[in-house]
């Protein structure tokens, strides 16, 4: 008779056999790459952007015959924007003999994960992590396609000082590597321009009730908020500020570049400003790809094209040196270039930062954002 225990054992044994079979089938003729980001958590919209970009990039590369004649296999990993989960995800990815990772999204995840990748010999290119530490402290393996917060903050601080002269400014951050880093850089630039903020405070990300913070801003007569943080909290703070009868302009960073921001803030998001690079969707190199996305009814906003570009750059470098060895590819990325991508040509400096970063301001109006 088949008793419970033997059924259980069979149940455990079967997946093991299956995974081994899968591993055998794929060994040799494929190259494993990964895309890691917050597929869940309050930043899931950004993770989704990365996933869309990564899947399209792999599809297009494979359609052209893969890299070095081998097909690419993509793993999509979820770090939930949590530094601890990012490390365990990084270990998983490294354990699968992955050669290249496009990720992560949150700087707080990218930085600890990069240490794992460096040890295990995985090349990492973040489409979105802007905290300077990522490449400053990074080893041979860290690259990013986006700008840095010291650049973003410098532009935001100068703009605040000029545009909102004489108004009361509050700087808020969520204590994450990205949020606090960006807020501090902005504060530095603002103070350098001779303006002192009225209030500098942290808030706890992941909550829904920011009324106490909002009342505090209201009590201090704040007219402008600079927020170093992500879109969910930004939307909630604006929504609750409006409920409390407060008229305030929010200025934020690149983490607000998603339509989900407006869904949360609703009409309270009107007039919100944010820094991001000049809209990648409008660049001539992206035209054909954007049209294909539009045909699928996908708006390639935010970091979709950045993730796509990360794979393009890696594939171009690997093809050029005829090797996917992460160290050799990393050396090649820094030594040569610029690399042709959907974002236009991108080159890297010694640290792995892009050589020509560009930040401009966007404004939210009636559910859409446009460059100022």
């Amino acid at each position: 008779m088949l008793n419970r225990r033997s059924v259980l054992q069979a149940g455990i044994a079967l997946p093991i056999v299956l995974t081994q079979a899968e591993a055998l089938a794929q060994a040799g003729d494929t190259i494993r790459v990964a895309c890691a980001g917050p597929m869940t958590s309050s930043n899931a919209a950004a993770g989704d952007q990365m996933k869309i970009g990564a899947m399209q990039a792999i599809e297009d590369l494979n359609a052209k015959g893969g890299v070095l004649g081998k097909k690419l296999v993509l793993d999509v990993a979820d770090d939930a924007c949590d530094p601890r989960q990012a490390v365990s995800v990084a270990n998983q990815i490294a354990g699968r003999k992955t050669v290249f990772v496009a990720g992560h999204y949150c700087s707080g995840s990218s930085i600890p994960a990069s240490k794992v990748y460096a040890e295990e010999g995985v090349l990492q290119m973040s489409p979105a992590s802007t905290n300077p530490k990522f490449t400053d402290e990074g080893s041979w393996n860290t690259f990013r396609v986006c700008g840095r917060d010291d650049q973003q903050g410098a532009i935001a601080g100068a703009y605040l000082a000029k545009q909102f002269k004489g108004q009361k400014i509050a700087i808020l951050h969520d204590n994450s590597a990205y949020g606090k880093g960006l807020a501090d850089e902005t504060k530095k630039a603002l103070n350098k321009a001779g303006v002192t903020e009225t209030l500098y405070s942290a808030y706890t990300a992941g909550e829904k009730d920011y009324n106490a913070v909002v009342s505090r801003l209201k009590g201090a007569g704040i007219q402008v908020i600079y927020l170093g943080g992500y879109y969910t909290e930004a939307g909630l703070i604006l929504r609750q500020a409006k409920e409390q009868g407060m008229a305030v302009t929010l200025v934020g960073g690149d983490a607000l570049v998603t339509k989900d921001f407006w869904q949360i803030s609703g009409a309270a998001g009107e007039g919100t400003l944010m820094t991001f690079s000049a809209d990648p969707r409008n660049r001539p190199q992206a035209k054909e790809l954007v049209a294909r996305f539009k045909a699928k009814n996908v708006d390639p906003e935010g970091y979709v094209l950045y993730t796509y570009a990360a794979f393009q750059i890696w594939a171009a470098a690997a093809t050029k040196i005829k090797s996917t060895d992460p160290k050799k590819v990393a050396a090649e990325l820094k030594a040569h270039g610029p690399w042709q991508t959907v974002l236009g040509p991108i080159g890297f400096d010694k640290k792995g930062d892009v050589t020509v970063p560009d930040y401009v301001f966007y404004v939210w109006k009636a559910g859409n954002y446009s460059q100022i």
Binding site: A44, T204, D209, N211, A212, E243
Partner: protein, 304 residues
Amino acid sequence: MAYALQQLINGVSLGMIYGLIAVGYTMVYGIIGMINFAHGDIFMIGAFVSLIALLLLSAGGLMEGPAAILLVLVISVAITGLYGWAVERVAYRPLRGSFRLAPLISAIGISIVLQNFVQVAQGARPKPSEAVISGGIELMREGDFTVQLTYVQILIIALTLAVLAIFTVLVTRTRLGRAMRACEQDRRMASLLGIDTDRTISLTFVIGAALASVAGTMYLLRYGVIDFYIGFLAGVKAFTAAVLGGIGSLPGAVLGGLLIGLIETFWSAYFSVQYKDVAAFSILVITLIFLPTGLLGRQEVEKV
């Protein structure tokens, strides 16, 4: 003055939501001496059911006036109550004769199951909803500072007090309440005297879930954004509230919820926002050192 009043309003409306959830913890603990760790997730289910009901009603063009909100509330209470019943039936009842920790572990399991179920079924992104009840009253003005009391806040406070009154009557005055108190005192004796203890416990879970779903609806109306993870944080806070107020005591749960809400808010208002949870939990620890049974808890009499 105006500033303190505004923060008081913020704190009370937040605390009332904690209180409503805390009542569920306290009732279940009172009757079977178990901490239902899945209760926070039942609250989250309540919020999701409300959101779905809200979207369906507005798609059908019925989303107008207080009647519609009442309808959302009724749908949410009914479906979430069913979840509460099912959780008890599936995960706790089979373990009733088992050792004390078994249902606790099973509760943690259910909590993870519910979270993941909603994450997979509804997606991981935060779900926004339009403000259904907007606007409010300007209570007072001091210079540029206005004190706003929104209609949703009034609704939350009124509803919590009404629900609390109804359940106090239910527990102290009705047949079911008497059966619940009997089970609480001595389950074996109660069953010997002809009380259907399984049914009573089931109903307690349904009532607890119903209260959590009311809290879920209020949460949705108040903040307009929910995700599959809200149950964890709210659950922890509400559980703390229940312990602070004296676990097993209904008014204690609401009092505890109010205190946690007020401490968090006033700490954020006058001190560092980052340390508000530290403040709230430190007060919990201090209270428990001096009053081990919580503020309104009874001394546990060891039965011989």
